[in-house]
């Protein structure tokens, strides 16, 4: 009886559906991590790239967010069982175990995963060399602190996972490089330390704010957001400090992550962002399936060299103001003001600092400098030992 009732309802629902348009060229399921949409960074970037690809190639997309980590496995299985998706993209390292189990269960289903290597013949793994981009913002932060005479630079991280070790290691390396560069250029030996904390969350915005407040109170010139949506809280902490100081623009600053977050806070509170092009990763995966060049078992490495990571620049700022408008965070009318504020903020620093950041980038690209890339806890501990960044 119950079944018949359901079938009846289903038929009714089908009749009620407006006549569908033409058949899509393909279908993609985007399976997001906990936290999901609205983080203005990691997950939204995955959404952005997928949406662009869907538009460009005439595909159709479905988005699923996880409520808890217990959802990862059934989310994936459900999408794969449906058998209607040409590609299933898992956004987030934490889904690796689930994908490792599901991929062999559905050998004909194509998968892609962001931020993890899942060694299965039907999975494309997309990983990022975050340490390279983090070194650039680290160098900037170190020179900023020395330039403004602040005692510390800060970093607020999410959950202690190997992906975040690459951010932390790169940042430490970069700060050290920046401080030495500062000494070389000005002849003064700066005394700058690093304040760092793993908050244990990628979703609790209040924790991000509390952690950033503590660091700013101690005298951090900039706080690097390595915890997705927690950046919203970090920016609040920065903004409140600036209000207290009676200033519009930093210092203190935030350093953005994943997206170009420079537009946040009127364009004069986020000095730069470490861009991690999750959007490009998702777009590329869909393009590969669309063009028939998808190869499972491959690793797609996104680095400085192929612009998969990098420090934010003016060109992508405009693109990401639109991203902010689309997310409802700002309105389109604010665009010129944000761009002007941003230009003024960047111009307030001596040109040689920006040139030094470019120099580091060139040296990494040329292979003259190799940024440490820890994969285990032991290796991370070694990097911390090598670059302790404790104030004397």
């Amino acid at each position: 009886m119950y079944r018949r009732f359901l079938v009846g309802l289903a038929v009714l629902a089908l009749l009620a559906l407006p006549l569908a348009g033409q058949q899509p060229q393909g279908r993609v399921a985007l399976i997001l991590d906990i936290g999901g949409r609205g983080d203005l960074s990691f997950n939204d970037m995955g959404f952005k790239g997928t949406e662009e690809a869907v538009r460009d190639f005439g595909w159709e997309m479905t988005v699923t967010e996880a409520v808890t980590a217990a959802d990862f496995l059934p989310n994936l299985r459900h999408a794969a069982r449906a058998g209607v998706f040409d590609l299933i993209i898992c956004v987030g390292f934490l889904q690796a175990d689930a994908l490792n189990q599901v991929a062999p269960e559905f050998p004909d289903q194509k998968f892609a995963i962001i931020d993890a290597v899942v060694d299965q013949p039907n999975v494309l793994s997309i990983i990022f060399e975050e340490q390279e981009g983090s070194a650039l913002v680290g160098a900037l932060a170190g020179m900023l602190a020395a330039h403004y005479g602040y005692p510390y630079v800060g970093i607020v991280l999410g959950i202690e996972i190997p992906v975040l070790y690459r951010f932390e290691a790169g940042y430490r390396f970069g700060i050290d490089w920046g401080l030495r560069k500062y000494a070389e250029v000005t002849g003064e030996e700066p005394n700058v330390g690093l304040l760092w904390v793993y908050t244990g969350t990628f979703s609790d915005i209040a924790k991000g704010k509390a952690a950033a407040e503590a660091q700013i109170e101690k005298g951090a010139v900039a706080v690097y957001n390595v915890a997705g949506p927690l950046g919203v809280g970090i920016l609040e902490a920065v903004t409140e400090k600036l209000e207290e100081l009676g200033r519009e623009a930093g210092p203190p600053f935030m350093i953005g992550v994943d997206a170009n977050q420079d537009w946040m806070g009127d364009g004069n509170k986020v000095i730069a962002s470490m861009m991690k092009r999750v959007d490009v990763g998702c777009y590329t995966a869909i393009r590969m399936v669309h063009e028939g060049t998808f190869e499972g078992g491959r690793i797609l490495r996104m680095s400085l060299a192929n612009e998969g990571v990098g420090i934010s620049r003016f060109l992508d700022l405009l693109d990401f103001i639109d991203f902010g408008v689309a997310a409802g965070a700002i309105s389109a009318e604010e665009r010129p003001e944000i761009a002007a504020n941003w230009a003024a903020m960047r111009a307030s620093l001596p040109t040689w600092i920006w040139k030094a950041v470019d120099e580091l980038e060139e040296k990494i690209l040329a292979g003259e400098i190799v940024v440490p890339k820890p994969t285990t806890r032991e290796e991370m501990l070694k990097v911390r030992e090598l670059y302790p960044l404790v104030r004397e």
Binding site: R37, T64, A82, E105, E160, Y198, G200
Partner: protein, 354 residues
């Protein structure tokens, strides 16, 4: 006869509440331009169409039955135990800790479960002692203990039980101490039998033993119970210990019985909120062990429904959670009203004293 009537009345109330909840949520869906019919089809098809879906609902229900019991047992004795969340974290980790050594199959699982139950009970001991001896409100103390437990758990994951090769998680539970999968290709493990057995045990305890009678008497009228020779301190501690054990076991069902990763991750993403969800389940199940089993399966089904509503009805997660929230609230309302009415009556009778 009275019991049959009461049961029927409760069931009728719940059905009415569910209908009201569905209608209200449906109107909101409609107002935002989503089709309530396809949404509800997706919601219920997710769990109640085939074995695969139903297994998912049961897998979700497993820990919820146990954490709901924590709240329900205390509520029966007139106490508000919000501490399942924190006790459950430590139970999950204690069960993992049992994998620091090797034991034969079956025995290993039993030892891990004993660890989990003991950890949960231990964590419940301080709030119950404070309540029993100093009259400290158990609501406040258990909420505070949840936070302590949360950060203790973070620390344990990152420093004590950490996997040397993967810093984001604890060591993986050894296969002999895992719950085997019950239905292949799903999340459902044999842990569901543990949860149901514990619920039946609690039912038996409350209904047919002297201790259970004392617990219920303390809840129904603490002064009369004291007059009748019930030692309220003993009842409080017993209720909390029992709740701690079931909450600890709830954590164990996740670390020992939920694929794919038999471990606890940093940030506790897989187990967070199971304790709080248990309170909702207890409310829907009228704080009755048997009602809780059905309520948990229903609640677990709603959780699976979240996935299918997103995948196939195209409804964003925020909307899905709104729908779930309205339905759960509507279903919990009758019990909630009953509890508050009880409190008020008691307060009036005793002249403001609880």
């Amino acid at each position: 006869m009275k019991r049959v009537y009461d049961t029927l009345r409760s069931v009728a109330e719940s059905i009415l509440a569910a209908i009201i909840g569905l209608v209200v949520a449906g109107l909101i869906l409609k107002a935002w331009g989503y089709s309530p019919i396809s949404a509800y089809i997706a919601l219920f098809e997710a769990s109640f169409k085939d074995l695969y879906g139903f297994s998912g609902a049961l897998a979700n229900a497993t820990p919820l039955i146990l954490t709901a019991l924590t709240f329900a047992v205390a509520a029966r004795a007139g106490l508000f135990n919000i501490g399942a969340e924190g006790q459950m974290y430590l139970g999950a980790l204690a069960a993992v800790a049992a994998s620091l050594f090797r034991l034969p199959p079956v025995l290993h699982l039993l030892v891990a479960l004993a660890f989990a139950g003991a950890a949960g009970a231990l964590w419940a001991l301080v709030p119950s002692g404070l309540r029993a001896t100093r009259g400290v409100s158990e609501v406040i103390s258990t909420i505070m203990f949840n936070w302590i437990s949360r950060f203790l758990a973070f620390w344990l994951v990152a420093n004590v039980l950490v996997d040397p090769y993967r810093a984001e998680k604890t060591i993986t539970v050894l296969p002999p101490s895992r719950f085997p999968t019950l239905v292949r290709g799903t999340d459902l493990s044999y842990a569901i039998f543990l949860a149901v057995a514990v619920a039946l045990l609690v039912y038996f305890l409350l209904r047919y033993t002297v201790t259970g009678y004392e617990m219920r008497a303390a809840g129904a009228n603490p002064d009369a119970a004291r007059y009748g020779g019930v030692r309220s301190a003993k009842v409080i501690v017993l209720v909390f210990l029992l709740g701690g054990i079931t909450a600890g076991l709830a954590g164990a069902t996740q670390s020992l019985g939920r694929p794919p990763s038999y471990a606890v991750f940093s940030g506790l993403p897989k187990i967070s909120n199971l304790g709080f969800d248990g309170i909702g389940v207890a409310m829907i199940g009228r704080n009755h062990p048997l009602g809780i089993i059905f309520a948990a399966i229903f609640y677990g089904g709603l959780q699976s429904g979240a996935r299918v509503m997103q995948l196939f009805a195209g409804i964003p997660l925020e909307m899905v959670r709104m729908v779930q929230g309205v339905i759960v609230l509507a279903l919990a309302l009758p019990e909630l009203l009953r509890i508050f009415r009880g409190f008020r009556r008691r307060r009036v009778e005793l002249g403001g004293e609880r």
